[in-house]
Symmetry: C2
Subunit: 347 residues, 2 copies
């Protein structure tokens, strides 16, 4: 069993039983739902087509870029918990992935980041203009998919999530460089920009299979807690020096002045000298050679990465609890493991 | 009667009767539907609110920028043709305006243009990042409005229009600098990027008042033909030297290498020397002092602005015809005059 797996086992009541075979819960969930995922993939490919060649070219660049398709996978899983037959999740899972992809495209334009899943982001390859417009196309396609399904509940859930995501992104933009950002304000940002879509992706399952309100609520909360854990872990990973050793980019948030859990936590007990450092680098964005290394040193001195992971783990544990009342199944166990594992993934 | 009004009267079977009082048909339509428009305005203001202050600030900047709100006006008019009571068009007309505003916000980012309705565009005031994200917010809000109404037909019409608009914008981007663009290809671009939303805005009226298919089709076609006339006239205006004398910006399309009706028409009979000029300026975007003046001279030598307006007028006449089968009313007459006037507006 890997170190991480034993950490999970040690620090959680919930037992992770099958990490020993080397596959992550996300991979095992994909494997368990592989026939369904193949249908979703076909739907995605078919529906990103257009007579305008640049659209499938750009959309395909991003969609085929090795993404884990975790959100459509959640929609499938949340449906299959209750119904093993219905085909309704396929177009809706594709819609969820389209909304996510549109957000990525617009986010890349916004952040001017230099890496996305290890490839150059679409906006650097195809230009900002094309990225904005193809994002709009995918977003519209998502709504066409939902209209095709015909559920006003699903349309309500996903249009609300989309508005909340945009609000979260604007909130994040407004908070950029604000070194007085509190953890509560940070939670508000990530709840909107990330957890809202996880929440919606999961809620769709019990909605289209017509479960009772308590099941819908359970899956909604599971998605929310999973999304929070996922984003906090992601924000910690951005300062993970081990990742840098593997040749992956770190420090994106630092360079952009985007305050996230590790820095906010480190600021809570910062010396006046450290506070001046964060102010110079992240508020005024005056960054010099060696500043990122200095930032990592301060974060380590405050043990802020572990503190951040501990918070992520709390959210993951809540996600595990959220599913307790659902009927037991191999699928449910995997969904719970996925929540825990999300905190320990390394990419 | 103004020169333009007499031109309309002279060149069309349809008689424009009331231009003499100085008000445009759009203004008179707004006046006729002023109580309804006030409701739509309230809806727009209420629904662009958000806990994130930058959102209403940026949305308000654009929405209050003196726009004519022609699209929501069309939704109202197309509803009132058939039903004088229903309140259903209000949130939907607001949704149409939100989709239009989102498109403008993303278009400004894309084009980097320097003027929009005489004010600096939002992206120059608030930044590209905020413009993209607030556009996304308004787009999502539009869908929330439609979900609130609950008509899957309306959702289908507007999600399809949104996808088509995005396709049209990407198509325009792909065609940029292509001096071999045909009028047919140009029609395809503007049908998607402009006429699709006019079409949808009008189609909603007979749909929510449950008219028969022939009425729905008539209003849909009216919107399409009006949108085509509107965009072609707009593209001609961009080369109107009289407008430059009033201090308004012209030549945006020229500077961006965006081929539109006047240049495409002038290219059809271009000398090899003229063709080289268009190639240098609009394909290679190598533009020097005096090139715009030269472009205007060439367009005038070929009478391309008048040829463009004649094509716009053909579309406007078709829009007039489209409404012939609808019951007669002052409103219908105004909608027909609006179509004709669209070709002769000067801003």
């Amino acid at each position: 069993m890997s170190d991480r797996a034993s950490q999970v086992q040690e620090k959680n009541d919930f037992e992770v039983t099958t990490l020993s075979n080397g596959e992550s819960p996300a991979q095992r969930l994909s494997a368990l739902l592989s026939a369904d995922m193949a249908q979703v993939d076909s739907e995605i490919i078919a529906r990103m087509q257009s007579d305008v060649p640049l659209i499938p070219k750009l959309a395909g660049y991003l969609i085929s870029a090795g993404g884990k398709r975790i959100r459509p996978l959640l929609t499938l899983a949340a449906t299959r918990l209750f119904d093993s037959e219905t085909q309704r999740p396929y177009p809706l899972a594709a819609a969820v992935e389209f909304i996510h992809t549109a957000t990525l495209l617009h986010d890349d334009v916004v952040d001017g980041s230099e890496e996305r899943r290890g490839k150059a982001p679409a906006n650097l390859v195809f230009g900002n203009q094309a990225s904005v417009l193809v994002g709009d196309f995918l977003f519209s396609r998502a709504f066409q998919q939902m209209v095709g399904d015909g559920s006003l509940d699903v349309l309500r859930i996903l249009s609300t999530a989309s508005a909340v995501i945009a609000e979260g992104e604007v909130l994040q933009l407004s908070a950029q460089g604000n070194i007085d950002l509190t953890m509560d304000a940070y939670f508000k940002v990530i709840a909107a920009k990330t957890a809202a879509l996880f929440e919606a992706a999961c809620e769709i399952g019990p909605v289209i299979t017509e479960q009772k309100a308590s099941e819908i609520d359970a899956l909604r909360r599971y998605g929310y807690h999973l999304g929070m854990a996922f984003q906090i872990a992601d924000d910690v990973l951005d300062y993970n020096a081990d990742r840098a050793k593997l040749g992956k980019a770190i420090g994106d948030d630092f360079r952009e002045g985007k305050l996230t859990a590790p820095v906010i936590l480190a600021l809570q007990n910062a010396s006046s000298e450290e506070k001046a450092f964060w102010k110079k680098t992240m508020q005024s964005l005056k960054q010099e050679e060696g500043d990122l290394a200095r930032a990592l040193d301060i974060l380590n001195a405050h043990d802020s990465l572990n503190s951040g992971l501990a918070i992520a783990k709390d959210f993951a544990n809540k996600a595990v609890q959220d599913l307790e009342t659902c009927p037991d199944s191999a699928l449910k166990t995997l969904m719970q493991e996925l929540a825990l594992y999300t905190v320990y993934r390394d990419a």
